[in-house]
Symmetry: C2
Subunit: 389 residues, 2 copies
Amino acid sequence: MKGFKFAGICAGIKKKGGKDLGLIYCEKPASAAALFTRNKVMAAPVLLGKEKIQKGFCQAVLVNSGNANCFTGEKGIDDATTCSKLVGDCLDIGEDLVLVSSTGVIGANLPMDKFEAGIPKIVKHISFEGMDDFSDAILTTDTHRKIIKQSGEIGNKIFSIMGIAKGSGMIRPDMATMLAFICTDVDISSQELKICLSAANEKSFNRITIDGDTSTNDTLLALANASSEVQINDIDSKIIFQNALDEVCFQLAKMVVKDGEGATKFVQIIVKGAQTKQDAFKASEAIAHSNLVKTAIYGEDPNWGRITAAAGRSGAQVVPEKMDLFFNDQPLVLKGNWMGADAEKKTARIMKKNEIIITLDLNLGKETDHFFFCDLSVDYVKINADYRT
Amino acid sequence: MKGFKFAGICAGIKKKGGKDLGLIYCEKPASAAALFTRNKVMAAPVLLGKEKIQKGFCQAVLVNSGNANCFTGEKGIDDATTCSKLVGDCLDIGEDLVLVSSTGVIGANLPMDKFEAGIPKIVKHISFEGMDDFSDAILTTDTHRKIIKQSGEIGNKIFSIMGIAKGSGMIRPDMATMLAFICTDVDISSQELKICLSAANEKSFNRITIDGDTSTNDTLLALANASSEVQINDIDSKIIFQNALDEVCFQLAKMVVKDGEGATKFVQIIVKGAQTKQDAFKASEAIAHSNLVKTAIYGEDPNWGRITAAAGRSGAQVVPEKMDLFFNDQPLVLKGNWMGADAEKKTARIMKKNEIIITLDLNLGKETDHFFFCDLSVDYVKINADYRT
């Protein structure tokens, strides 16, 4: 995309080796908006980023994996500031236009020698084709890179949006939920960009869960450099841009869940017929977070008792005798009645698929909500029991 | 204990075989109090029990494992009623003095032929020594029986309390959280018994978690038959009885967590120095439920980043720079600073123990709370992926 350059290199930050330092560079300052974690234990780059983003402009983003620079106190803030200064110096731009972002182990100081050596090096590598390297550099337990591109047309001009994300553990719906960087060539104010980003986030990253733990480093950052000359300034252009941005965020969110630590299944739970929006949210969230539901899905067991029980404990208004439950289009429970061995057999076949839609109709009202989640597997436990060793 | 008889037999309800039908019989009607699940999807025996307990008296309790009689609609209520009538007929007591309780798979009807054959048989087996058989008959994925006996003295007279519980999965702190039956020979009104039981529950069963899922069948029932002639009618006797009851419930709750599905570690998280009671509860609950914390404990990793991050997302007021974190007596974080490799090494040795106390001091106030929980292991996933097959 015109005006955006990327790079990703091995700087020696990750113990296991591989690319671990990434850089996004905008040829001129871009409108910028960001959403950050709501965890009260916030990483140093998040604390710094929250301040810097107020200005609404950004020209470079440095991202490292392998170390979260979280729970590192004053030293952590100093280190993050030093990194942005180094990037500013090497790119010959103001330090206030540089954001930093980190992901990895909590509680260790950044290895500053690696950054002091790595930053001058990465600046030399930036190119228009560097997004794959950048994408690889920000991964931790992810098994593959996550990049989405989307284009649209406004007033006979083409605009583009590209999203790059990392995330596969410590994922739950409470603000951004991982690292994601959106680059677009539209001409939009940072205030408008923030509104669009929040709306897209609510429908995507705020509706996914892997393990229910909110990260300390979650950051969703959008940069708009106006290089397409497509202005987002009226209601029609806003709708077109919002739809394209929604799609990018939704596809990225889906990729994050699919790459969930140890995940073997990608599941959407839809709760319909709730009395209130809040009830629909509560019931779908409880089901998506239930370890008993998630292990049953791993075992390819259409265990409807666990699903309805999770809805029952969610705090939402539910009446067992009114519930309908479907796996894809196959009903297994109608008005609280199990549909029998034949329906169970058909459902069991559906459970063998990699993608499953579970629909719980509470039949009490008109509200609906949904969550995307994955199963809880033996590998999830192994990955997380061994993470620091 | 004088006046209480028990039995446990194989009635053919459990697929895997073994004892699955239990009976408690009081020679005369006992004062009775009970607490039930708060899950809105309630099993038939819970719905029935909630009504019957209003009367404050009970003379027999029939408990089966292998089938929860939950999500079984009108048929489930009819079946539970038929069971109590059969028990009443065979014991020659009023059906209104019989409670029933079930645990096992959700969503299947009770195999009534097994109950019709089993109830006349079990009534013949009741004896003063039958508590081990009863205890075995109510287990599901538990690996061993859970019985606690406690005695006390009031006015030169000895009283006793015996508690029998089952529970190792679908355990979270929201009311009773499993099946537990308390028999005591004190003379106490059902109203007073309910007050004592609620207080004991709050400190024990409401402070344990295995997997965060509240069961549909949770029942904590206490029966007092007055056979010791120890009256609980003044403040002194109430304190002594409450202490003994607290101890029985606490020991049973501890046994349930220790026998948690796949559990290899028994952990207490204490949150101190919180600004409010609610904050102390929220932070300790979030830590005890975090899959990332639980898998780290399984991996014997003192992963303090995950513990402090879970507190950070709990909604409690926390300031990272004020936090102290201890594993047993070993500090690993003081005022937000990691204490270094030597402290980490000592902590890693503590993590190899079977029982660990983790203390998080928020240093913001005077409130404290705690939870008992277990780790999340590969076996937990295997047990719950295969439960119905």
